[in-house]
Amino acid sequence: MSALPASAPRLAGRSRRERMPWGNPIVYFVALVVIALMLAPIAYIIAGGFRTNAQITEDPSGLPAPWVPENYLNVLTSGTFWTEVGNSAIAAVVTTVGVVALGLMAGYVLARYRFRARGFLYALFAAGLMFPMTVAITPLYLVVRQIGLMNSPAGVILPQIAFALPTTIIILVPFLKAIPDELEEAAAIDGTGRLGFFWRMVLPLSLPGVITVGILAFIASWNSYLLPLFVLSHESTYTLPLGVQAFASQYSVDTAKVLAFTSLSMIPALVFFSVFERRIVGGLTGAVKG
């Protein structure tokens, strides 16, 4: 019974293991062409960091000849880069934990409690999808300034949590609704209250959805640009996207170095995503199928 919500991903995983034919060569060819198109600009950014500026000016589309690791070494040994990695990591991790915790609690109530304001609350959170941060950025900046959170990680984290809540709740509610009532009844017979049920059953059963929204929140935070731009003005508090832009304008003539800095800044999000890729597809299945 407890394995039910996981049945769809398991089904897919099982048949993948059992019969994994080589398939049609044309499929591979098309896949390779698509991948080449998707990766070419990224390959350019990464390879560009291994060149010198002279190489880039002389032949903008060439490969590194010879490969020069200096740019990468310079960035990796500079304190700025690691400070910004740290700032981004703090903001992303706390945002993720906050979004998942608040979203799960609120989503649980919206999915499984009956009360008069429920429809209104759901509509209110869903309406958040209509409010891009762009629309609210000036007043948002004033709010953050008013409560003294300028240049502090909390000034980025709290608004990020707030703006991620609509997506989170919309993805999680179907998961929480799909947990069978029988489980809740059984838990009640065993003497577990609604809150106990939340901790012991809801958390583990909604894990696929939780991981999905967690990854989405983490990547959105890691990449976010507009909010940090308004809230963080001291260089010591910069997150990586701000750092990349500051670096790009500071060393605007040193293209190779900018490319090296840019390449390194995308690694964490890429690693994080590739580790959890299958979970994202699995988690969205519950939310988008209809």
Binding site: A8, L158, K177, A269
Partner: protein, 369 residues
């Protein structure tokens, strides 16, 4: 073991979705009924209710008092669980949005309290500004072209990747890469590649297509197309993720049955897969439209300050920042934000009314049967 287990899992998932649909029907049928007043036999909604109705032979009065207390506990639980999310959401989303609407009525430079009330003057100015018309037109082009360029491409790629083949997961990860890296990285890298002395023109030169070389970013005729290609490249991965998720929700049994009946691969895709992907497609299109209307980061990072006047890629959001914050006219900027919001809202409402209607409510939970 395989057919047996597959059938069991399939039946289990069907019973789960039946369950879910029963659940939503029951809930919508009796929204306001108090927990203790429920007839025996109806599925109870909460654990506490089960305890109450599960014991026969208790007095009516006793049950009533217990239920009042239970109601109180339930209210406390609701407050405890929703409270934190609601406070954060109200403080950092709803309040700023309301304030944006308020500031839009003032000629306000961002210092002190807004005092210079000018009513709808900001809105009149916006609607008469040719630069805004241009931005609105760009947004319209982006909405339509994003749907036309990304939708079919993403669908084909998702169908391709949904086939059983080796290296499937690594191929998926690689296709999602542009979606995962940040707008700043994309913007910084691509603006270096696409400038007139950049890598793309260098490459065209090298393979003998030098006559195709162009000033991709600065030529106003080319720039909007450059932007569309960049957007397609960047957000295709997201569409593919959604379509793959939708494809996973289609039971293998359906396509297997069609195969046994002798349907070809393309017949199966056209008659079974595509119709069943309908809800996913409509949700993706909705997200794409809203995203296109509100596009800001990439344009602002790649084209920077000269976007509005020369490059021909301005959007309502870049118009807002350029004529609001960057020009010091905070009141005006907030009025633009309100216009942008109203346009998004109208589009969203129309879309939900006429397109998403068949997917609403139950469709999200009932699963396909």
């Amino acid at each position: 073991m395989t057919p047996y287990r597959a059938r069991r899992i399939f039946e289990a998932s069907r019973s789960l979705s039946t369950q879910a649909s029963k659940l939503s029907r029951d809930r919508t049928a009796r929204p306001a009924s108090p927990p203790a007043g429920r007839a025996a036999g109806a599925p109870p909604t909460g654990a506490a209710d089960t305890r109450g109705t599960g014991r026969p032979g208790r007095g009516r009065d006793r049950r009533a008092t217990a239920s009042t207390r239970r109601d109180w506990v339930k209210t406390a639980e609701i407050a405890l669980l929703v409270g934190p999310a609601l406070i954060v959401f109200l403080a950092f989303v709803i309040f700023p949005v309301v304030m944006a609407a308020y500031y839009g009525f003032f000629r306000w430079k961002g210092f002190g309290a807004p005092t210079d009330f000018i009513g709808l003057q900001n809105y009149v100015t916006i609607l008469q500004d040719p630069e805004f018309h241009e931005a609105l037109w760009h947004n319209g082009v982006i909405v339509v072209m994003s749907l036309v360029l990304q939708g079919p491409a993403a669908l084909l790629i998702a169908l391709l990747l949904n086939r059983r083949m080796r290296g499937q997961s690594i191929i998926r990860v690689l296709i999602f890469v542009p979606y995962v890296i940040s707008e700043v990285v994309v913007g910084t890298g691509l603006s270096l590649m696409l400038q007139s002395e950049g890598a793309l023109n260098g490459l065209l030169e090298r393979i003998g297509l030098g006559f195709l070389a162009a000033d991709w970013l600065a030529d106003p005729d080319a720039a909007i197309w450059t932007l569309l290609v960049i957007l397609t490249w960047k957000y295709l991965g997201f569409a593919v993720i959604l379509f793959l998720a939708g494809l996973q929700g289609i039971p293998d049994e359906l396509t297997e049955a069609a195969q046994i009946d002798g349907a070809s691969y393309w017949q199966i895709q056209r008659r079974i897969t595509l119709p069943l992907l309908g809800p996913t497609t409509r949700i993706w299109a909705f997200l794409s439209i809203i995203g296109s209307l509100q596009l800001f980061d990439l344009v602002y990072i790649i084209w920077g300050q000269y976007v509005a006047s020369t490059a021909g890629t301005s959007t309502m959001a870049t118009y807002m920042v350029a004529n609001g914050r960057n020009a010091g006219n905070y009141g005006y900027g907030n009025a633009v934000a309100v216009v942008l919001f109203l346009i998004s809202l109208i589009v969203a409402l129309v879309y939900q009314r006429y397109v998403l209607r068949r997917d609403t409510a139950g469709a999200l939970t009932e699963g396909r049967r």
